[in-house]
């Protein structure tokens, strides 16, 4: 097994996620892109854990999943509230605060 492949994959996933945040207007999709980035990191952790032969990285991955779940809770709460208020989930519409 060549860990480099996994790492490259994780970098690709991370980049997709980052690009998603930049290009997608819908708050939900932007948020999902962030989740993708987190999971890319998880993949790296697990890969490195395997490389180093210890469990630390795998434990981190578990924690990250929990954290991501918590993030979803908070994030969805905010996004839903905003959606209810504005009838739109576009992040570009939320641009009153500027300059």
């Amino acid at each position: 097994m060549n860990p480099t492949n996994y790492l490259v994959l994780s970098i690709i996933l991370f980049s997709i996620g980052a690009a998603g945040v930049l290009v997608r207007r819908n708050a939900l999709i932007a948020f999902m892109s962030v989740e993708l980035m987190l999971n890319a990191a998880n993949l790296s952790f697990v890969t490195f854990a395997r490389m180093h032969g210890n469990l630390d990285g795998q434990i981190v991955a578990f924690f990250v999943m929990v954290v991501a779940a918590a993030e979803v809770v908070v994030g969805l709460a905010i996004i839903v509230t905003i959606f209810r208020t504005r009838r739109s989930a576009s992040v570009d519409d939320a641009s009153l605060l500027k300059l």
Partner: protein
Amino acid sequence: MNAPTIEYAELAPLITIFGAAVVGVLIEAFAPRRLRHPIQVGLSLVALVAALVQVILLAGTGMVAAVGAVAIDGPALFLQGTILVLAIISVGFFAERRLEAGGDAFAPSASSLPGSEEERVLVRERMLQTEVYPLVLFAVGGMMLFPAANDLLMLFIALEVMSLPLYLLCGMARRRRLLSQEAALKYFLLGAFSSAIFLFGMAFVYGYAGTLRFGEISEALTANVGQDGILLAGVGLMAVGLLFKVGAVPFHSWTPDVYQGAPTPITGFMAACTKLAAFGALVRLFYVAFGGLRTDWQPMLWAVAIATMLVGAVVALTQTDIKRMLAYSSIAHAGFVLTAMVAADSSATGAILFYLATYGIATLGAFAVVTLVRDSGGEATHLAKWAGLGRRSPVLAATFALFLLAFAGIPLTSGFVGKLSVFTAAIDGGAAPLVVVGVIASAVAAFFYVRVIVLMFFSDPAPEGPTVAVPSLWTAVGITLGAAATLLLGIVPGPLLDLAQQASIFVR
């Protein structure tokens, strides 16, 4: 295999806070609505004070607890103590109920539709929400854990525990709810984005070192050779995550928007405490774990510090909203702290600790003053409305002027001593050019602080100007404490400086 030992005594402050937060959630669920507010406020205060007492009792401890995950040492305890003090004052501000006709600064129900019938009913019924307090307790817990975290995992957890409640708190303003919600959304999206970047960096660092403990990472830096690319990229990415939290340029974009949109007491709390916690974590990570890479990250921090000071000061010049202006000012201040960080030695740590403490106090006070200047639409944050405040309410204006002068670093305020100590650390650490930039930025920054003073004292009041609400004891005491501390620490900074200096040794 033995069960890991947990040093409960040393972790007691954290446990107290988190415990109180959980209890707060339960209260929210089970206590009758009428009683919730007094109970929540009481619980928060008791928990915070108890934690503070525990922190004070722990003073002088230097150990790694919880199987190496948490460091209980000077910087951690100093910051925890400071955060707790600031949090106590903040809770006082949250509990202020005299300024708004219908209650406090927070929406009766954050999830209700602005302008909906539901909201009107809630306002009419004078319903108040009290979920702020457990949220704040969680955030405080995260903040306390953040600078104490001694391994990467704990760092990440603390970051999230600190951030998630703050995202929510930002969206809870009673007035201008659209702005508040927008601030929450922006803070959340960008915060999550930066967390992801941070996590990814963490993965790289782990990949290089094969361990999560700071101390072991530090050892690995000297042992391992090769694969430096992964390490450096990882350090860079982690730096981004933390620099985002402290509001350094170019990761500062969220700051003005969020500071402006969030309920003002929250803004104050966030501006003061988040910065403390994030800098604590930043300094520990870079000094303890990445200390061996000093020469690698110093140039990067130089650049970030210069950009932060200059952009913060320059952009603040043309702001018209007082909260936004303070936001940019906080960016500039992050830059000043970074100059000391570049020096990377224990005297720098002491200087940073002192700076953060004094800055936190002044910031909290300044935002509290902002809550008092009101017109029919709530807080009158547009600068033009502050004209002539010095004539209407000389004491309040003088207090605000004091905070501004402290931000500007004028002698006989705590801000001066803070600036003196960080710049001293910077020059001592060989970063004299940074100090020159810092001086230039300070000069630019002085301009906009002075502008506000001019507006308050030398302009004639507008006829339709805002009024200064008479606060309850909560706010009055908080502001007085802040002002007194700002002045006192400017005149006799010795004890606190001494404390900060003594507390500047990281345990490894």
